[in-house]
Symmetry: D2
């Protein structure tokens, strides 16, 4: 075992931190005051500077204009970008676009890549991923009602999706729809590219979430597919591949997300320490002299470090044994890191008192936006079940048919 | 001991619930969508209907147009009103106005009562309470920088306050200012009525909190007092009474708040149960069949009931032995009930999944607005210290000078 | 609502505290050093003095030599007795005997009362209750393998029980056995009195628990019934009444237990405060000056008070609406109070440091013996399920067939 | 970063597991039934077989008859040995002897090594480490009352120590005593070897802990030093080195301990999974089908893995930057791993129900004995303070004199 970081990762991290400090953190205040959409011009400038600095799209291959970092290296970058709510967006590695890019890269035809992937990788368009449905638990992607019926050389899609992040303003959606209701559970659905200007693709509403009207990239839409017709050539992979492709995007996506959360934790931790060290309760007696605050700091330090090691080990396992064999690791980090995020953020806010709820620091922003971390991509409870069932296969209970 | 409820309390509660269902809950959706200020006309109508129904200002004496309920009875009413974010406002028992009314009633001169209390009690004006300062921990009201200098028959006030709730649009503030820096710690400050149109009373800004720009009653302002001159006759009580009056308003105020939180808990609990019972994971298998959801329901049921008993006992003790002797009880319920509120709300959101964060139910609203429950009126940590120090007086440590 | 205590309860409590201090607490040290059985002579003396003081068997009727306290009053007494591990035993209100006495009193024939109840009430014998079986979850008393076959005027009992507390040295057992496997689930079992000298009643072993060999009253036995023959007249109630009688003993028994736990909490709390107040970290700086210790004290104060109110309200509901209607309350206090007990005890030990684990204080004794509080009489998890299912009946899910 | 294990570590681990299964686990039942001392003959046999198998003293250098494993490798071995309460003892790497061996190896003179270290390394003697005092918090080794007065070529030691583990039957103690009260805080104390047959070395009593009378290696003694005279040549290092040497033994000792706890966690985890998989609630429905049990399994899996990574990283840091620079890591793992141990053990017991408290499995044994893990070597609360103060040095509060 070797816990050391590579020199080039350290050097890159330093450059990215400097860039964030210079170009991105100054945009936080206007973000908190005016929202994401109002920030569009400044974000365009920041993105251009990111390209100019040679830091664009670190997770993407060089042929797509990215830096071509392997997963273990990008993990560290994702943490650093997570320190500001705009980091991933400015670097063009934001969900759901990065996941869509990976899908298109691995499963798209040359035509898909030319039409959809290239402009996305260049940051000229945005996209969305349309899977969760209002009437079904998002945690189980094998049960859905949206149907894509084959009609000659077209698919005709009907159904309703929601929490489709970033649909507002997206150039296209990758939609998951049932193409064969009678197939085995994991072969029923197919992924299909649907340009958002296709007739029958209806953004019914941007769902207001946690007090924000939602718009642009920061939107969560309810989408209705009404006899929405696209050519069969818009299909990703073969019919019935939907679930398999969804699983594939999950592993690296989980690493990105979890490291982003750790970035949030680190920034919150620093704010907490700074507040504790500088807020005076009485002359010469900072808040940091209180034992409860010290306990929060120590526990946060421990938990953040543990979370990072767990995510990096999961990334290492994806790299060495593959996402399928690393399934338990990928589920474990979901609930483990989300739990750490919740606690660290909460302690940071409590340390700030009323100031922790004011829209000047990113704490209140994250408090609202990251409540979802324990819910999306399957609630923690579901992932715990996944882990337990995998673990229990090694034990001789009747459920597992084991013989031990 | 007797845990039964009085018949008239039960009857009144039934009437209030019916009124809320009819007149107030329909205003929640527009509140979540457009904010408090946009709702002004509808709220005015609802308040008039509340008066018409004879339910106006239940905590106020009949001579002020209220129902004259004793604390123990109003406690139950406050819980019921807490079931909707607009309940207390419509019934004119909302903080900080209700606290100001009690102050003016107990300590105001006849002129104060005529000029300030009457229109407030009638719901024709609003008011604010200006105590917390940016540079001092809000938990210790004996340390503050705002000064009221005596100049002939006037006080001239200089200083800076923040988190002055409802200042935007208020007719007057009750401000806490140091009148004698050399007096013993608890005799330094005085409460003074300052009409908000007094020159030198400057609302520097409405502080945006948890993603809301803040405005009207739902505002939290930073107020600057710049040589703000008011007649000495605007003083409440004697010079140096500020801390004592602040303490007095605390006891009943705590009961109101904590019961309001319990109302939030009960509504959240019902939403959680309803969701659990009706959300299907598979045909015939509701979310309520999951053991973790059952555990959340059972733990919430236990904790809410325990919290209510604790608050009612504190109210009973205020009634029977007085607020001073009930000091420990009043501090205990602060952190105990705030903790229950946090957990119940969190479980209710988690049970709803992504829908728990959508601005259709009050859950996401409370999640944002009630994060402050563990902070304002003194953070939980401070109250725990208060309780421990009181308890430890009974033990023979050197700290207490005891002899046991 | 009225939270005041009756004067006679207060006076009685004072007498009992004095008696415990004088006669029972001095026996704790020898108990921790030599175990329960070695203490028999001293305990006999203490019991006699208890009788002499007119404090004997406070939960039993006067016709049985007891004090005849109603449940609400005995609840307070049970808390006070719980302050020492020997309290209930000395006063002859210890489990399982007190439960057996109540059973015999309500369901025993005059002959049963003469033969079994009288000497038990007088403290001349001990008894046990033989229900839990090794192969079945103790939480579900409708599933058991022990069978009582009718043979003429006898029952012939075969089966295996364990965790039969106090079997070692008991005069008789009340055993729960299936008399009609084909009856509806709650009518299958019957309670039968089995003198322990009956052939075929075999105490297979005293199960060592938590490092103690177990013996006498403090034993937990595995009992084998091998063609154990007793007359039909030894039956309590009618055939099939077993479950109903078991449920009846549960309600008051739960109150006794929970109040005993609260007594443990109060004593532990006092030890914690005393240690905190007197243990010096440095001259003039007691352990109580540490904020974490203060938080433990405050949280414990809050939780113990909440637990007590919950149990008293459950007792009040048993008294006013009956044990069946109070079913949720009776399940709620099981897990709620057991949780408080666990936390308070843990904090008290942590406050004492290594001394908290030494067998001089009762803390280490309770730590070992009361780990079972979250397990016996049904693990907490089962009770949470009971509560949730009852609560959910009020909500219109398909499970409940409701219509709301 | 590289999370892979070396092949030879994997191979060694396999051999050790086989040895434990064969030679050590069969001794658990008699340990739980009869205690440590009764087991002496069997343990002697097991130790001889350990030597024969070439597995003796893996943490010791080959020149001492050990295997000479570096810290990172022994860490894994310590985890595996921790799976049984007798593992470390049989392999002669048990506390406090292993720490004493390391001290003697690094700081002992050739004569010390001949007289004390050799027989200890060979398992022919036992030893103890006499530092904690009844009147001072064990967490601060700079405050103590035991004094070693220089008298010619002798030290004369007076004072009282307690919780001196393994003193009963030890050949010698290493005692920490103040040699210069006026020196700077960290230079006051000195370590001195005291053979236990020295006049004035009085084992006042074996302190009974958690229901066990305590004896032999499993004893915790109160030692009185009464004018106890030893030659100055018994000193370890120079006068005043006591604290420094104590700190040195701490780092590797912490790794050993924490990995041992992880071994306990893993065995408990396996017992929990096995119970969950095989205990039937109803035909075909194992306990493992309950969602709460699944959550316990998943959370335990996550926490144990996180704990192990944290300890291994701390070991790696001790190896690469030294124990002093790794100070925060060494404090972090103390409370982090102790917390995991507590929760995993508790869940394993709860999963077993009443059977979890029976002295057949090691769970109840560990529950009692490992309660100390959050207390000894400094309570968790102290370590949290250490971590926080180190972290806060990087922040510009007045406390740290920083300038940021």
């Amino acid at each position: 075992m070797d816990f050391s970081l590579k020199d080039d990762v350290i050097a890159l991290d330093k450059r990215i931190r400097a860039f964030l400090k210079e170009e991105v953190e100054p945009l936080e205040a206007p973000l908190f005051e005016h929202g994401f959409e109002a920030l569009a011009p400044q974000l365009a400038v920041a993105r251009q500077r990111c390209k100019d600095a040679g830091l664009w799209a670190p997770a993407l291959g060089k042929e797509l204009g990215g830096m071509g970092l392997p997963l273990m290296d990008f993990a560290h970058v994702s943490e650093t970008l997570g320190r500001t709510p705009l980091g991933h967006y400015v670097f063009n590695v934001q969900a759901p676009d990065i996941g869509n890019m990976e899908c298109l890269h691995q499963h798209g035809t040359p035509a898909h890549q030319e039409t959809y992937l290239k402009p996305l990788a260049a940051g000229e368009t945005r996209s969305c991923f349309s899977m969760t449905e209002p009437m079904h638990a998002g945690s189980n992607p094998t049960i859905m009602s949206t149907v894509a019926r084959r009609d000659g050389d077209d698919y005709v899609i009907d159904g309703r999706k929601w929490f489709t992040t970033g649909a507002d303003g997206a150039a296209f959606a990758i939609v998951m729809a049932v193409t064969d209701q009678d197939a085995p559970r994991h072969r029923r659905a197919t992924m299909i590219i649907v340009p958002t200007d296709t007739p029958g693709f209806v953004n019914a509403r941007n769902i207001p979430v946690m007090g924000e009207p939602s718009g642009g990239w920061a939107s969560h839409s309810e989408i209705v597919y009404e006899a929405c017709r696209v050519p069969v050539s818009n299909r990703l992979g073969n019919e019935g591949d939907g679930f398999v492709i969804a699983q594939q995007r999950l592993g690296p996506g989980r690493i990105h997300h979890c490291m982003r959360w750790i970035g949030i934790c680190e920034r919150s931790f620093e704010l907490m320490c700074e507040r504790a060290a500088t807020r005076m309760l009485a002359p010469g007696k900072p808040l940091a002299s209180k034992q409860l605050v010290q306990a929060w700091i120590a526990e946060s330090r421990a938990e953040i470090d543990a979370a990072r090691l767990m995510v990096l080990r999961a990334a290492w396992r994806i790299d060495t044994v593959g996402a399928k064999a690393a399934r338990v690791d990928i589920s474990v980090i979901k609930f483990f890191v989300a739990g750490v995020l919740e606690r660290v953020l909460d302690r940071a806010i409590q340390t700030h008192g009323a100031f922790g709820m004011v829209d000047e620091l990113p704490l209140a922003y994250w408090y609202r936006h990251e409540r979802g971390s324990r819910i999306y991509d399957g609630p923690d409870e579901v992932h715990k079940g996944v882990v337990a069932r995998q673990v229990l296969k090694g034990y001789g209970g009747p459920e597992s048919g084991g013989s031990r």
